[in-house]
């Protein structure tokens, strides 16, 4: 069939860069994010101060890290609503290990991450082997972990263990830009994993066409279980970072389902399909950034709680309609 590909006219390089940008799926969310930044900076000159950017970074990073895992899991066609509870449990696990069993800080953190991975493994096995829908599996796991958390912690916050203070705490969350640095590192790494490795390709295949993936010999269960483990581990990491940042181990880190919910929203805003088969890690970061900017910006401007939600709701609708409009433009313009 006949192919009439548009040839770049004018200065080729700039044009190619532009088309390269416009073809990326994340382009439209990025434009929305930039528009929001411009809007808030115009509303208040405080928006782009270092202090405030740090605030935004700290509000974006942990949820974005969870969102990275959620992207993989959603792309593979599953969902995990227990990850917020893993985030809350992980700092307690570290605390128990250090304060009750005398484990040094770093091994205690590794232990907490390993246990989280184990939780993901259980979620994955129940879902893939015993065929319980992942929504239900992880709902059960959510309550189970909530119960464990409440009974072991007596539902009360505790201080960060002394041995974890200092460098460990600074590097793992308390430092001004620590959480953002980790977040960017993980986003870049997992962006590569999703787009440039077999694991990513197989994750997409499993979510896009599970029958086809099985027929092609992909071990679909292994891929799914792996992604369950990934999301739990990242959730635990985000929880630890938050505990270090707020300098308190709190049963409400993650807010129950809040962090999961927001991470899913970030992923979907960034272009991940709830039904699986497609998604982008960078998009999820941008999606989370958009949500954090909306939260921060209206707070900075000084909107109070009750009207806040009204405005936030409207802002989400308007910016997401703009986002879809832009991405349709993109698709019409691109190939």
């Amino acid at each position: 069939m006949s192919v009439v590909v548009d040839k770049p006219r004018g200065p080729a390089l700039a044009r190619r860069a532009w088309t390269g940008f416009i073809r990326r799926r994340e382009a439209s969310v990025l434009v929305v994010a930039i528009a929001l930044v411009v809007y808030f900076q115009a509303s208040t000159p405080l928006f782009l101060t270092t202090d405030n950017l740090r605030n935004i970074a700290q509000a974006t990073a942990p949820t974005a890290i969870v969102a990275v895992g959620i992207v993989f899991l959603l792309v593979s066609g599953e969902i995990d609503i227990s990850v917020g509870m893993v985030a809350a449990l992980a700092p307690y696990l570290m605390h128990y290990a250090i304060d009750f069993y005398g484990v040094p800080a770093v091994p205690a953190i590794v232990l907490a991450l390993l246990i989280a991975a184990g939780i993901g493994l259980v979620n994955g096995l129940i879902t893939t082997r015993l065929k319980v829908p992942s929504f239900v599996t992880t709902l059960g796991m959510f309550y189970l972990l909530y119960g464990i958390l409440l009974t072991t912690s007596r539902a009360y916050p505790v201080a960060v263990p002394a041995s974890a203070k200092g460098d460990v705490q600074t590097w793992l969350g308390a430092g001004d830009w620590a959480s953002l640095s980790w977040c960017l590192l993980l986003v870049v790494f997992f962006h590569l994993v999703l787009t440039r490795t077999r694991w990513g390709l197989h994750t997409i295949s499993v979510g896009g066409n599970i029958l086809g993936a099985t027929e092609a010999g992909i071990r679909v269960n292994r891929v799914k279980v792996g992604n369950f483990m990934l999301v739990s581990t990242l959730g635990a990491f985000a929880g630890l970072m938050e505990a270090f940042r707020i300098n308190s181990i709190d049963p409400n880190i993650g807010g129950g389902t809040r962090i999961t919910f927001t991470a899913i929203a970030a992923a979907v805003i960034g272009g991940t399909a709830l039904a699986g088969g497609s998604g982008t890690v960078i998009g999820a970061l941008l999606g989370m950034f958009v949500l954090a900017v909306l939260q921060n910006g209206f707070n900075l401007v000084g909107v109070s709680a009750n009207p806040f939600f009204l405005i936030q709701g409207l802002a989400i609708l308007v910016s997401m309609i703009a986002n879809q409009y832009l991405s349709r433009l993109r698709r019409a313009g691109g190939s």
């Binding site: 069939m1 192919v3 590909v5 590569l192 440039r196 490795t197 077999r198 390709l201 197989h202 997409i204 295949s205 979510g207 896009g208 066409n209 029958l211 086809g212 993936a213 099985t214 027929e215 092609a216 010999g217 992909i218 071990r219 088969g277 497609s278 190939s335």
Partner: protein
Amino acid sequence: MADALRVEGVAKRFGALTALQDVNLHVGRGEVLGLLGDNGAGKSTLIKVICGFHRPDAGRILVDGIEVVLRSVDHARSLGIDTVYQDLALVNELSVYHNMFLNREHRIGPLLNNRLMRRLAEEHLREMGVDIPDVTVEAAKLSGGQRQAIAVARSVYSAARILLLDEPLAAMGAKEATIILDLVADLKARGDVAIVIIAHNYAQALQVCDRVAILQQGRITFDRPTAETSVAELTDLMVADYRGRRRAAPG
């Protein structure tokens, strides 16, 4: 030397429905077996049993004379069994070239070698006479024949030693079909590949097959060298069965 592939007494039931019953089959290296049969006769089910997708309810499978219990498609592939499925097994969300190398990706270290896969995909498609201008396009956007071409290329250009082709020509144009049959003939000429091909176009089948088997209602009812049969005979066979049933049925 043992047959490359031998199927003995295989049966497969889906709930109350018996799809395969006591199926025996063998293909040697360098041999092409044509598998014919009505719609719903059980051809695809048989292929899926051989490639490790379905577990048979009875019977055994021997590869190079050694009995194997196929645990998964992956396991079968590790034994050199590769399949073109009737449903093509494409992932709509992936690009043409990623689909073509699905689960057989070329890599540099841990990273995919996209450049190589792209180039090879373009080469393969050109060889098959199929025109897909941009192999980075998602498979969802392709025409029916283009999709089938990817699925066929995926297996035909693999290093499979037992190749199962389930209606690989169904959506192909006349020209493309001819080219693919030529490719199959080339593989056969190499002498180390055993091929099973399902086709409804008997002329095409006879053109490349050494032997022809007919599957009817889950049983092999006919298995003869190509030289001893003809399009006319095969057509007759099928229609006779049809007429016979028509008379017997009350409706």
